[in-house]
């Protein structure tokens, strides 16, 4: 109760110390005397000036700073800007709308600040994204003059041009520029594994409704698939190891037959290696979902 009283007194003090102002005249003055030049028309600040709306500092401090700024701001004397003018400007600043509660364009961007371990792999050249007994996977751009060091047959999944895939043999490199500038290179190692026998009672992962077979040869089958919001895939069995290259930003919720769920976020270019012998269904949990999936024979 004591704190409430103090707070109420402080509010009263600030209110009584702030003279009435005409927000409309304040808006005119804000432009006329050049405040907008650094603080922008809405007082929301920018590269040259701080944000001062809709919650400017207490009025006395506000006036004091305008008269005698600490930094680079030009000083405004009484001669050019009266106390009443400042009260009007103050009223204008306080009349500015608060920002929207949520701005999807700002909050839907799913790429988080990464941890150091992740930062050292995918985003700078020189290290593969994945290196195991079956594949070495590289994130390649046309700007990289040296890499990757592809040694065997390889699959090149374009990130820049969704759906485009090129196959190369015996250490040959694809033309990254022709693939739009960025691609995921999957270097196939000589560790062939025949598909597992499906005893799950569910259909194989591929083909499935809506999928496009991009190509197939003796070592791989490449699929292009888009997940539709609110439409889970059929429960399915993976009889082959797969490399998944995501071509959109979103998250997939994966649920096994016993009801256990996990959600995995991805963004454009995210690449994952998934082992065979898995049964699950997937549904889009966030954003949009598209991937090129390479099944390894």
């Amino acid at each position: 109760m004591r704190y409430l009283l103090i707070l109420a007194a402080a509010v009263l003090l600030q209110t009584s110390a702030t003279p009435a102002g005409d927000a409309d005249n304040g808006k005119t003055l804000f432009v006329k005397v050049g405040c907008y030049q650094c603080h922008n028309y809405e007082g929301h600040g920018g590269a040259a000036g701080a944000r001062i709306a809709p919650n400017p500092p207490p009025f006395r401090g506000f006036v004091s700073y305008v008269r005698s700024p600490k930094g680079d701001m030009p000083p405004y004397r009484e001669k050019t800007l009266s106390e009443q003018d400042l009260a009007d400007i103050y009223a204008y600043l306080r009349s500015r709308p608060r920002p929207p509660a949520a701005v999807p364009l700002l909050t839907s961007d799913p790429v988080p600040v990464r941890n150091p371990a992740a930062a050292s792999s995918a985003d700078v050249s020189g290290k593969p994204l994945i290196d195991n007994e079956r594949v070495t996977v590289w994130d390649v751009t046309a700007a990289d003059p040296n890499g990757p060091r592809v040694e065997g047959d390889s699959v090149w999944v374009s990130v820049s041009r969704p759906g485009e895939v090129v196959v190369k043999s015996k250490g040959a490199r694809a033309d990254i520029a022709a693939l739009g500038g960025r691609a995921i290179a999957i270097d196939l190692k000589n560790a062939s594994k025949p598909p597992l026998e499906n005893k799950s009672g569910y259909p194989n992962a591929f083909p499935r409704p809506g999928v496009r077979k991009v190509l197939e040869n003796e070592r791989i089958i490449v699929w292009d698939y888009s997940w539709t919001p609110n439409q889970p895939t059929p429960m399915h069995f993976h009889d082959k190891d797969v490399v998944v290259v995501y071509l959109a930003d979103g998250a997939l919720k994966s649920t096994t037959p016993d009801g256990q769920s996990t959600t995995n976020e991805f963004s454009v270019g995210t690449t994952r290696f998934n082992l065979r012998d898995r049964v699950h269904t997937e549904v889009l949990a966030k954003g949009s979902g598209r991937a090129v999936i390479t099944e390894l024979k």
Binding site: Q37, G46, D72, P99, L106, V124, G181
Partner: protein, 633 residues
Amino acid sequence: MNRRGFLKRTAAASAALAAPAVPVDAQSASQRTAASTTPIMSAVAENANPPDADGLTADRTGSDFMVDVLKSLGLDYICANPGSSFRGLHESVINYGSNSQPELITCCHEESSVAMGHGYAKVEGKPIGVFAHGTVGLQHAAMAIYNAWCDRVPVYIMLGNQLDATMRRPGAEWAHSVQDAAAMVRDYTKWDDTPMSLPHFAESAVRAYKIALTPPMAPVVLVVNSEMQEHALAGDAKIAIPKLAVPSAPQGDSGAVAEAARLLVAAEHPVIVADRFARTPAAMKHLVELAETLQAAVIDQGGRMNFPTRHPLNQSQARAIADADVILGLELSDFWGVVNSYRDQLNRTTRSVTRPGTKLISITSGDLYVKSNYQDFQRYAEVDLAIAADAEATLPPLIEAVKRQMTGDRKRVFESRGAKLAEAGSAAFDRSRLEASYAWDASPVSTARLSAEMWAQIKNEDWALVNGTGGGWARRLWNFDKPYQWIGGSGGAGVGYGAPAAVGAALAHKKHGRLAVNIQNDGDLMYAPGVLWTAAHHRIPLLSVMHNNRAYHQELMHVQKMCNRHSRGVDRGRIGSELVDPPIDYAKVAQGLGVYAEGPIIDPKDLGPAIARAVAIVKRGEPALVDVVCQPR
């Protein structure tokens, strides 16, 4: 025998005696003989009997050989506004050289030619050529050359000039001739020469290329005598082209590097500041490795694409300098400005922003080469350890030296520090998103909204920002994590750089299939908007989104400051700096120059769809422009 025939035979004779290098002496030929027999364009000459056909045509000229030299250097393009003083070279490029490597790019202003080369070199890591008149062309080009000089970027400039007064055509050619063409830009170019023979040209051309690419890199100038370009050459004349070996960039002294590593490993709050650091795509990888090894804060000043914007150690939006006990500066253009603040009031004052005893380590090739007249070297910085070397080349040994000096105890300290920095970086990113949401629906459009709307349309493409930052918002909101996604600014703050540098950079990105993106300031575009036509003509894909605040706003703020200082008319500060009444319709300007364009956009809700339509055009291989009326900053 006329003069051309004489020179031709001299070249052939010399080739036989002294192959392969043949001096083709342009200046020692007998002036008297040449003067008495050179045909003069006059009514008498026109009506006389046809002269010797052999004296009117030539199968091969000096400029053909010059093109051989340019091809040997690997110049992909020549940017030029046409000029008679290099007509020989012009014709040799397009015919003898088949207009391929180099290909001639038609420019509408020499400032555009050089700035295109500036932007191109920062993407591709190598220069392209510029042809210009040694007089009026160079005068136009001068500011752009100064920008490239300040930005340490190689541009390979060739100036046409007619040195021999007795050979000049009456009239314009005299006005377009000069004794010492390069003198005008000698203070802000690294090297120039005026070759007197074709072998001399070959040597100087290769030397100029080598010098331009040796850190610190800078523009170079060759003055190419018009007469030498047009000399007839014997078909069998053989002139050697010297071998090019670009020097490796200088690494820091091993003792100094070890001392730098000792200071960094012992530091509690090391901060790495990078400006014009990244020369090659490998630089970012090195800086990430050094920062992660030390778990040190990194401030990317943005002179190049130095460090991923969303890396947890990126503290560019935080206040890391005040806490630092060791600061490592990598190719800083102004180390003094990093550790001091400056107050621009009637009494100009400064103060240190570091705590007492903070150690400063500098690695810069700027210490290896400096000139006097132009003052772009900034205020003297009192560093504790100055390593005169290329910072990118010095990072691998520095990383090794740091690893050698690290102990288990220090590593645990580093990990704890890294976790705190990651938290601070994440909080700064969240703050940026929150700040961006203020004035979200305002009209004119906020620069944060402009940047966010652009990001939504390009983030799934292989994009590169080639100019502008939308008041800094692009660097705060976008996920820059590829070495080619940013190239820094003008260097010399010479306005007019943005549009042509963007087109030049887009030309470099074209062959990689990347989506080049330009946040174009309105005042900048008005210097030489003809470069939009160049982009349209050469099918250079470039998305330009205008940050159109209808003023030269930086200058407007300076004048406002003077108005306030004198209290005699703060409401008139805009006079002379605004671009209103009438407002410029940039979409119409662009459309008139053959570029797809929309705008002016005033309602922010219209912005996303307009950018999406423009992106579709650019992905077809053409330039597009969206004019957006924006908040000032």
